[in-house]
Amino acid sequence: MIPISYYILLSAILFTIGAVCVLIRRNAIIIFMGIELMLNAANLAFVAFANQHQSVSGQIIVFFVIAVAAAEVAVGLALIVTIFRTKRSIDVDQLSSLKG
């Protein structure tokens, strides 16, 4: 039997790596992957708690998160492709047109 704290700790570590990935990478696609990693870490915590409380509701929320992530990726990658067409770059440091 594995204590739930192990799963929560693993989830926290994965979430932190995803957040650091969003902060230090400049490539918009890799920033996107960091966001996916954070969603995934939250999902792992949800499933662990669903197991602890023996309630399937946690698993259903994860199902919804997966569906929302799919929609988010479709729109986000379309935005990245459009930005690349106009700017010829997806480096987030070069996307500073709105800088005052």
């Binding site: 790596i17 792992l44 929609a71």
Partner: protein
């Protein structure tokens, strides 16, 4: 050390290693493949946690469909041609410091609650099966399910409109 614990520790090592590979790899294609590895190890965790339906959904939707979309866009934009601006060392140090603070906060928050409950290894073969999830989904969560389908429709239309050639 039971076999289950050893399996957990090895998988946790693979998952964290894959996440670090995503964080540090120079090539976007390698980063995407590391993320696929991470998703598959998380799917195995779902199996350990009595969520077989979610494990299969994770492999087909996340590791399959979503990552294929990522790889497709990386190939479309040219994996090697992406120019990067100069590395900002102080930003990187600040980000890693903030990450450590975030991890500390999460650990303190979680373990101040004293969650020491052990997981039940085998709840019963019905728990988390497609049948169980489906009954719950279409009885208690019908409205969110329908809203999700509208959200996916909006996503499809948005992606088409955004990438349409003028």
């Amino acid at each position: 050390m039971t076999a289950e614990l050893i399996l957990f520790l090895v998988l946790a090592l693979v998952a964290v290693g894959a996440a670090l590979g995503l964080l540090f790899s120079r090539n976007a294609v390698y980063a995407a493949l590391f993320l696929v590895l991470n998703f598959i190890t998380v799917a195995v965790f779902y199996l350990l946690l009595n969520a077989p339906f979610l494990a299969m959904a994770q492999v087909t939707i996340y590791a399959g469909a979503i990552m294929v979309l990522f790889l497709f866009v990386i190939m479309l934009l040219g994996a090697r041609k992406l120019k990067t601006s100069g590395e900002n060392l102080w930003q990187r140090r600040l980000a890693i410091g903030l990450g450590v603070v975030l991890l500390g906060e999460l650990v303190v928050l979680f373990f101040a609650k004293g969650w020491r409950g052990t997981l039940i290894g085998d709840i019963g073969s019905k728990f988390g099966s497609p049948e169980h999830i489906g009954i719950e989904l279409f009885n208690q969560y019908l409205l969110p399910f329908e809203i999700t389908s509208i959200l996916l429709l909006v996503g499809i239309i948005g992606a088409i409109v955004l990438t349409k050639d003028n």
